[in-house]
Subunit: 343 residues, 4 copies
């Protein structure tokens, strides 16, 4: 539930209320607004004694949160959130573009990508070092060596690094090198991993599972928020349907629907969402027109020779063209493809 404090509430009132909430076995999340403080009390519903909170010192009103997710809901926080991580800013009118190869393959490859990303005006570099692969016999990523190559690319270009983490045990290691921890679609309901990134100081990009409902998606985000990490970006990357001409079906209505229900920004991945290079740019543009707060796109110096996902990667020229077309759509919706955030 949401406890809206009066404008006149003192810090002592707030501390008292936090103690009251915690004494009921609930967790208190304090959201400091410009004019008022709001306390979200979350936990098992139907706890005895809740009504007593209303009469606490400095309380204006107590409201239920109807959505199953609480910290993620717009009921709790009506203003949209902006997530910033290094050079990347996503939300509130700034469209962040994250681009790079599926896998980090060599220092040269990732550096070439980084320069192409920066030169086309995108704001963060992606690249997989820990790769969750369908087959145990496929390339599993360069692991820490890959992370180092990413960090070197950041040193040279200033681009924020977005990379996947696949196990709770790796969160600390990946957090050392990355600006944004990506949770892949297959791990959207790996709750231990969500709890672990909830304790990391890094921002998180949470991909929707291929058959997750929106409620399940936002409840997965809630695990991270509930763990103490408020910097969560959602990512729609396509759902699994009977359609076979695309790798997944990219349901862009997720964008406006999610924006009505949560304050968290939503990024779209048109690469996995289509699975074909020739469809990526059209869907990147459509995503921005639908109101997406960001894009994450696969590109590679030589897609035909990529170690993974080459068939859905743009080459550098295609990526630059995509950026230029997307910039026009962004203007037509009164937003801008974000410049890099100064260090």
């Amino acid at each position: 539930m949401i406890i809206v404090m009066k404008r006149s509430a003192s810090q002592e009132d707030i501390d008292t209320m936090i103690a009251n909430v915690e004494s009921l076995g609930l967790k208190a999340n304090v959201i400091q607004g410009t004019e008022r403080t709001v306390i979200a009390a979350v936990g098992e519903e139907r706890v005895a004694g809740i009504s007593s909170l209303e009469s606490g010192p400095g309380v204006d009103e107590v409201l239920p949160i109807l959505a199953p997710y609480k910290l993620a809901s717009r009921e709790l926080k009506p203003e949209s959130s902006t997530v910033t991580a290094g050079s990347l800013s996503v939300g509130n009118g700034t469209i962040g573009v994250i681009a790079g190869p599926c896998s980090v393959e060599t220092a040269e490859q990732i550096l070439a990508c980084a320069h192409a990303v920066k030169s086309a005006g995108a704001t963060a570099l992606r690249g997989g070092a820990f790769k969750p692969r369908t087959s145990p016999y496929s390339f599993q990523g360069l692991k820490e060596d890959g992370l180092k190559m990413l960090a070197d690319a950041r040193d040279e270009t200033g681009l924020a690094i977005v990379t996947e983490v696949v196990s709770p045990d790796d969160v600390d290691l990946v957090s050392e090198y990355a600006d944004v921890l990506q949770i892949g679609a297959r791990n959207m309901q790996n709750y231990r991993l969500l709890e672990a990134v909830g304790k990391s100081p890094r921002a998180v990009l949470l991909k929707r599972g291929p058959s997750a409902t929106i409620d399940e998606f936002l409840l997965a985000a809630e695990y991270i928020l509930d763990g103490g990490n408020p910097n969560v970006m959602l990512c729609e990357r396509g759902v699994r349907t009977f359609e076979s001409h695309t790798r997944f079906t990219l349901p862009l209505a997720t964008v406006p629907y999610v924006q009505q229900r949560t304050h968290l920004p939503i990024v779209v991945d048109p690469s996995h969402g289509t699975g074909h290079t020739s469809l990526v740019t059209a869907m990147a543009k459509a995503s921005i027109a639908a109101g997406a707060d960001g894009l994450i796109v696969e590109m590679h110096p030589n897609p035909d020779k990529a170690m993974s996902d080459g068939y859905q990667s743009l080459n550098f020229a295609q990526f630059e063209q995509m950026m230029s077309e997307c910039r026009r759509i962004a203007e037509a919706v009164d937003r801008e493809l974000g410049a890099m955030v100064p260090a």
Copy 2:
């Protein structure tokens, strides 16, 4: 297969080739280009004697059509087709917008819609007179009375009329009043109906079935083309998936994918594709950014009182706002929301 005639081929050469094709039990469809004539020979594959065609008088080359659909394929006709019907033009850079209520309810209602459609700058009026309804006990439409009201609205506004036909027996009647015959999603594989509209002089808007593959969709169009009617617009209106927060899942990647495979224009229906008024405008904009050749949108003077589909209909002010936002996206992709074609 495609028989490409030489530039120097005479009409007699062409007639000879048509006769040769027909003597093999195939159907000859003649496509008159600006410089050359092309003959599509379609029918059962692996007919004996096909190789004899190559040596016919005036033949340049004979090429197979690899797609299962033939007349619909870009292999046969590389240039995009434009479909024009009364005030409506769709294709080749002109985005047609068809709008109106789900059902024609009264003369006043449909006339009010027509004026709102025209005033917002859209180019055709939709409205159902024959309604296929899930329950036999639901309102089934005003039938011929509804068609007359639509025709009256055209007389007053000049807008082309788009309305559904649900039975082969009604095709002649509906063709008397309408400019475009709509085939609903439930009838996409009602082959007798497709054959019947294939013989009508009216253009056809063919909606994709909610679980049809793209090949099935284009083969349904092929039935109409094969019947002799070249004026087919495809319409993506959403597919059925596990997602329940939208009525259907609207897969906009259909737009660029289909445009790679067929010369027929593709229209998107964001009303059925989302099922919620609050999502329609975002998806209309996304459709245009993805490259759609047209939109078909439900609107109503008073959505709360609509006899059907009110929850997904825009009111007049919302529709006008949608048009104005879509116009900006159209400009950003170097296309225009089409003006009415002069009578």
Copy 3:
């Protein structure tokens, strides 16, 4: 709603009540039970004057039908229905087995199938004469010639004939030759066709559309019942999902679910439901274990040479083996694979 008449109600009371129902603009369907008469009053809900029915002569009680389908619901008719058509009986503990080729190809082929069907102990012959085909260039069936071959096979073997009808205009013709009219999955919501078979004296086998919900399925049956034809068998033949190792996904939970909601019998089609010969027998057995009232199975003298659907057809030896395995399952659920109904 359901008007339950008293045991003591006279024919005059019943006639009065029918007139009252009709005067409210509702349709009266009279169901003569062994002890009482029940009148189903169906039509637009919330008609004024309904409460007046309760006080009519001979009325015991008036109950609402909560399901959107009325005549199909178990609320209206708690006892399961049996559908009988020629040699075929389906329902109430008798499992009917319908088998035969996808398409009628020649008189010899269909006759050979009929003998194999009969000899294996199945009770009806299927075979398509009017074929709805995805491509206009595929074999469309032998039409009336095929119907005659089917009728000849019935004359020789006594087997009831089940064959598809694809257009309202063909219903009379097909009804002349067939015992059961099959409505294919693509036509499940071809309401004009449903209305037409609703007026035929023949029984109907209604296949579920590949993305139809159960409510949509039962409402399609309602169109037929509402047209006056009570002899409707439902048929589950698989739904379209992301799974690609089977042609469709066969959801056998449909069987017990539907049996809870409707009195109509339910038949399963394991041939289309799997799309692979090697999976048909296992799923036929599973269907019977789940409680299915019947099976419809594709078989062919020489599946490799079939004009359609050979990859999912059993040969005669496989069919005989399937029947013998299914007979054991039927016994284990205290039902029997039905013998032919004597002429």
Copy 4:
């Protein structure tokens, strides 16, 4: 690839071949048959030097494994595998039945379940101690306390314990108490977890993800096998589709399809597969008729008061009835519902 050794091959020949395989960077898995030894060489395909293996001492032939999964494939091991864990045996004609509550709630509850499971003739006890829950605010299980209650129930009844593990870090702990480690559907592609259970001495029950293809499912099993644990049972528990009258859609064709491709046994979960108590028994019977090697079923002393999944749990009387009906189906397919394996 599969290296089939001659019957006359010596242990030295086998050791030489293993060394050769490993020198190519491949992993050698030795499968000791009754008559011959087979060595599976798995790893990155297209390794140079493979052809040299054919001429090794004692080699009969070298065959490719066409399936993407290797150790799981029937190509490698044509005979079906049996998995035995405590009182539970699954495969090769013995149908194992695992039953119990969704969550371990109290010592009394789990003990009552254990007695009911044993008395009805089932062979293992399930119960969740570590619960992956959609919402962070839902009951997350009793953790180690729950494991202890399960172990106590085993001590009292002799039933093998099946319980879920959700994190690599918990595998050792859960392995101390459980006979079978369950990998839930949400974790089917949690590869670190699969690797961890691949190193456990306990058998594994691997549930199919709700949108996993069969290849993805068997490749997930391959991770476990490749880790060194051969005791893997697959479990079909329903896939996510547009159907909403059941919680998931239970596609029983998985059973015969998977049995054609892998030697691993396959268990069905009709509780999650339907989501409704009233559908469980019919689908349990159908599973056995389709050839399933086992069942896993949710039951509870008082389903209405269960802390999770009560709506799909059987009470004790319903479970006993289910067992008795399933026993008859098992006999009709010449298999038996397995008795407990003696300690």
